[in-house]
């Protein structure tokens, strides 16, 4: 196992999931739920929260139990752990918010297959202490949640003229039906990503400019 | 299909550029006077360079051997003038690079007469002797590629030439050297054809001439007499003169890719080549001069000329009244395949069929647009390649893919695709660039 001896700051571990290593925009993971259930902001948030719970929970467990899990079966054990959490979420949602559960449909169970979750177990939780693992999971899950929310709200606003079901533009708004349909999901996420890249590039250019200016001064 | 082809006498695809031959088609061939300095590059043919047999300071006679063949695929060089060898070393070649060459300073007082020699009895020669004679005469293909002719005549064991095809297509615009030769010396064309036909043991010979030269076709037909030589009018289409296209047009047969015409029993010679052979056997004159068309909108007095090899292009142009002010580009060869000339001091070579000068209005580089995949290049390419794809891959520097998946190496660089492209994409240049890169990589990997 590769446990780096470098000192790691839990806060940094958390923050990196939000932007620098954002699971959606940078790592391109978990695309299926990202696109499938983001046709409204509320669904996106529900899915994001479900993922949050599963990710943080299983990271905690995996990190705590890592000493007792033989390497050869670790994937299988992780899957069992994750699937257990997902089943729990599934039943809890079904019992408490059946309407949302119906909307999210088959995608709750599919959280198990979200590469993001197993990926964090393998790449992080199984290698680092509990505290770091949980912070990392929180960061990643929040990054995922934010991305879900961004996409969900764009799609809901344009697709229905509403946000969280509240009408924004009055009755006469012409909804952009495509936003709710699959192509709209792909294209909107593509454009969001483009925006993300563009901002990143701008930032780089800005940093370079500042550095240049400082070098000029020195 | 077959019937259709034989009626049409052509190949598939190709393009129809304006032929622009009116400038010089009617002008008789003139001789240019001797000048002060001649440069004979040692490698002006395909194959190994020749090896000098003279030294700096040595006096040479016109027609004297100055370099011997460096290998079997190589040929001899003879002095184009009587004079003194001034230098043997790097001189600028028409492709802009420096190449080893023999520089001869003409003797201004010499008569420049060829020492008279008796005609050679070609009929008595065995094929091997014939081949040796052709090599000794320094004769190479005059159709442009400058491939040593004797090599073409050395037919490997087990192969048989049935047809000799003499290439009088002259499909490149502006050029009229072959045309003038056929019109002015039809008997030499026929005699040269007959010599080669008999020596190769071919059953028949065909002289293929594009139909835009009706006078040449008529004259040749008159001179054929009883000989088994057919004079065939061909559709006017570029590149009718490319040998594989010519074979397709004349005999409706395809030479397999990578193979030579002789593999399907055909030998192809340019009319200039057979005339050079006729002259050598008649008068003993080796290849020391050739016919060159000087034309194009940038030339003051276009002409068809007999030029001693090694004459600087500058001198040839001076004889034609020099370049017009507006000239922007001078090329050697035809406008479709010729080489742009960087330095007018470069010499006329055995393979130089024309010197063409163009002004800004012809050489304006077309505005390049992205390829719109219109397919015109595919329908132009006589080799049925996919030039659009080749150019796209070339731009992306995917040279291996061009070679392995899109038959880069089959391209003869005829330029038909670039001619046809509405987007002004320099397709052939991408192709040449790719070939050059691959060639260099191969040399490098062989070195290691």
């Amino acid at each position: 196992m590769a446990i780096s001896s470098k000192k790691m700051n839990p806060y940094d571990e958390m923050m990196k999931g939000l932007w620098r290593d954002n699971p959606v925009f940078v790592q391109v993971l978990g695309m299926c739920p990202m696109l499938a259930v983001t046709n409204s902001a509320i669904n996106a948030i529900a899915m994001g929260l479900a993922t949050f719970f599963v990710l943080v929970g299983s990271s905690f467990l995996v990190s705590s139990l890592k000493r007792w899990i033989p390497k050869q079966v670790r994937i299988s054990v992780y899957i069992v752990i994750i699937a257990t959490f997902v089943t729990v979420v599934d039943y809890v949602l079904l019992a408490t918010v059946p309407a949302i559960h119906k909307e999210l449909g088959a995608f709750i169970p599919l959280i198990v297959a979200n590469c993001l979750i197993l990926g964090r177990q393998e790449a992080f939780a199984s290698r680092y202490p509990v505290k770091l693992a949980v912070m990392d999971a929180i960061g990643m899950a929040t990054g995922f949640l934010l991305a879900m929310f961004a996409l969900g709200s764009v799609r809901e606003i344009l697709g229905e003229g509403k946000l969280f079901g509240v009408s924004l533009f009055g009755d006469n708004f012409e909804p952009w039906v495509i936003m709710i349909l699959p192509p709209g999901g792909f294209i909107t996420l593509g454009l969001l990503l483009l925006l993300f890249n563009w901002v990143g590039e701008r930032k780089q250019a800005f940093i370079a400019q500042v550095a240049e200016a400082e070098r000029g001064k020195a | 299909m077959g019937l259709f082809f034989s009626l049409r006498n052509s190949f598939d695809h190709g393009v129809h550029p304006r032929h622009h031959k009116e400038q010089t088609a009617e002008l008789p061939i003139q001789r240019v006077p001797f000048v002060a300095r001649y440069v004979m590059p040692l490698g002006q043919h395909i194959g190994a360079p020749a090896k000098p047999v003279v030294k700096v300071g040595e006096r040479v006679q016109r027609g004297q051997l100055i370099a011997e063949a460096g290998a079997f695929v190589s040929t001899t060089l003879h002095s184009p003038v009587t004079g003194t060898v001034r230098d043997i070393g790097p001189h600028r070649y028409i492709d802009g690079n420096f190449r080893p060459a023999i520089e001869i300073e003409a003797d201004p007082y010499a008569t420049q007469q060829l020492p008279p020699r008796p005609a050679i009895d070609w009929q008595g020669l065995s094929i091997d002797e014939f081949i040796a004679q052709v090599q000794a005469a320094g004769i190479v293909g005059m159709g442009g590629a400058a491939f040593p002719s004797h090599v073409k005549y050395a037919i490997p064991e087990g192969q048989q030439i049935d047809d000799l095809l003499v290439n009088g297509a002259e499909c490149e615009p502006y050029l009229t050297t072959d045309h003038r030769l056929m019109v002015e010396r039809p008997e030499a064309v026929i005699r040269g054809t007959e010599i080669v036909r008999q020596k190769l043991g071919a059953k028949r010979a065909t002289i293929g001439v594009e139909k835009n030269k009706p006078d040449a076709i008529a004259l040749l037909k008159q001179h054929v007499g009883e000989l088994p030589i057919e004079v065939l009018g061909l559709e006017v289409k570029y590149p009718q003169g490319a040998e594989k296209m010519l074979i397709k047009a004349a005999y409706n047969r395809e030479v397999p890719a990578g193979a030579l015409p002789r593999d399907i029993g055909v030998a192809v010679n340019n009319v200039g080549t057979v005339v050079a052979i006729a002259d050598y056997f008649d008068t003993g004159m080796p290849l020391i001069e050739r016919v060159v068309t000087v034309a194009g909108p940038g030339v003051a007095e276009p002409a068809n000329l007999i030029v001693p090899l090694g004459t600087p292009i500058r001198e040839v142009l001076r004889f034609c009244g020099g370049l017009k002010e507006s000239t922007r580009e001078v090329i050697m060869g035809g406008p479709m395949m010729g080489t742009p000339i960087a330095d007018l001091d470069a010499p006329i070579l055995k393979g130089s069929s024309g010197i063409l000068a163009f002004t800004a209005s012809e050489t304006g580089r077309p505005q390049e647009y992205p390829c719109i995949r219109c397919g015109r290049c595919l329908e132009a390419c006589p080799y049925f390649l996919n030039p659009s794809r080749l150019a796209k891959l070339g731009k992306a520097r995917l040279f291996e893919q061009m070679r392995d998946d899109y038959h880069l190496m089959d391209c003869v660089e005829c330029g038909a695709c670039t001619f046809a492209c509405p987007s002004g994409i320099p397709i052939v240049q991408h192709i040449r660039t790719a070939k050059d890169d691959l060639r260099q990589q191969k040399v490098r990997s062989e070195k290691q």
Binding site: M1, A2, S4, K6, D21, V26, Q27, V28, L29, Q72, V73, I75, S76, V80, C115, L118, G119, E122, A123, F124 | P90, R92, I94, D95, G96, N97, F98, T339, P340, I341, A342, D343, T363, R365, E368, R397, P426, Q429, H430, R432, T433, D436, D437, Q440, Q441, R444
Partner: protein, 284 residues
């Protein structure tokens, strides 16, 4: 109550069943392979997400080990992990001394004479196949940046003089520029070889100087000024025998009439004066 038992029972059963099957399969069906592959796969996140463009972590690891891909293609691993993989795989690369690409020509626009004007698309090789591209010296740099285009590390920039300047920090000596240059002008040399001939022409004397003001005219003064045997004149160019072990000093550059031989502190064509300054500083 019944259900309270079925669930754990079924799950334990499944676990046992597949545990046994897999354990047995693992024993019977295992295949030996390069142990580095397994180790590399260990270091990868194991997400099998395909984001690297390979069909999974194992195939990615296989390609990593043979050097076909770079570790950073994995989007999931953190940068530390990636460093670690790079370290692990880099063990046997064993680069003793840093090498950089050096250019055998200093004849930029201001020094080398152009006899004709190339009018085609921007590429040295494309220009080279059109009658040499019009540069008087047919061995010199054409300045159309093929080398810069192929450099994956962004290490080559064309300067105002039309010459490629290699950023010696970015250059990894990958050799792509060497392959790309139609004039064979680049060579990969250890950074420590400071005495360097920036010219490639086999011409000599006046033939050179009419074409280029910084070309080597083959005068052999450098050879005379260096330790005997260090510099040999070959093809009208100085050939420096570093392998001879003879002392190499800037003195060899002192009488060069054209500056074709240079003492390089760092990169080539860095501001001309500072380089000359350092040359003189070394001399005196």
């Amino acid at each position: 109550m019944n259900e309270l038992l079925t669930a754990p029972a079924i799950m334990t059963g499944l676990g046992l069943f597949f545990g046994v099957i897999l354990a047995v399969a693992y024993k019977l069906l295992r295949v030996e392979e390069d142990s580095r592959i397994a180790r590399t796969e260990e270091l990868l996140p194991g997400t099998n997400c395909g984001a690297c463009g390979e069909p999974g972590c194992l195939p990615f690891a296989q390609k990593l080990v043979v050097g076909e891909v770079e570790p950073s293609k994995c989007t999931v691993a953190s940068s530390d992990d990636i460093d670690e993989i790079a370290d692990f795989l880099g063990v046997d690369a064993g680069e003793a001394e840093k090498r950089v690409a050096r250019l055998k020509c200093a004849g930029g626009k201001a020094q080398a004479f152009q006899i004709a004007e190339y009018d085609g698309f921007e590429s040295c090789r494309a220009a080279a196949v059109v009658s040499g591209g019009g540069k008087g010296c047919s061995w010199g740099c054409l300045g159309l940046a093929d080398c810069g285009v192929v450099c994956d590390f962004d290490a080559i920039q064309m300067n105002d003089n039309g010459l490629p300047v290699v950023d010696i920090d970015k250059c990894t000596a990958c050799g792509d520029c060497v392959d790309a240059c139609p004039k064979d002008l680049f060579e990969l040399l250890p950074l420590s070889r400071k005495l360097y001939v920036q010219c490639n022409t086999p011409l000599a004397g006046e033939s050179v100087t009419v074409l280029c003001s910084v070309g080597c005219d083959g005068c052999a003064k450098c050879a005379a000024d260096a330790a005997p045997g260090l510099i040999e004149m070959k093809n009208e160019l100085p050939l420096i025998h570093y392998e001879s072990g003879l002392p190499v000093t800037p003195k060899a550059t002192s009488r060069c009439p054209t500056g074709a031989i240079q003492w390089l502190e760092g990169g080539q064509f860095v501001e001309e004066e500072s380089q000359n300054e350092s040359r003189y500083a070394q001399l005196h």
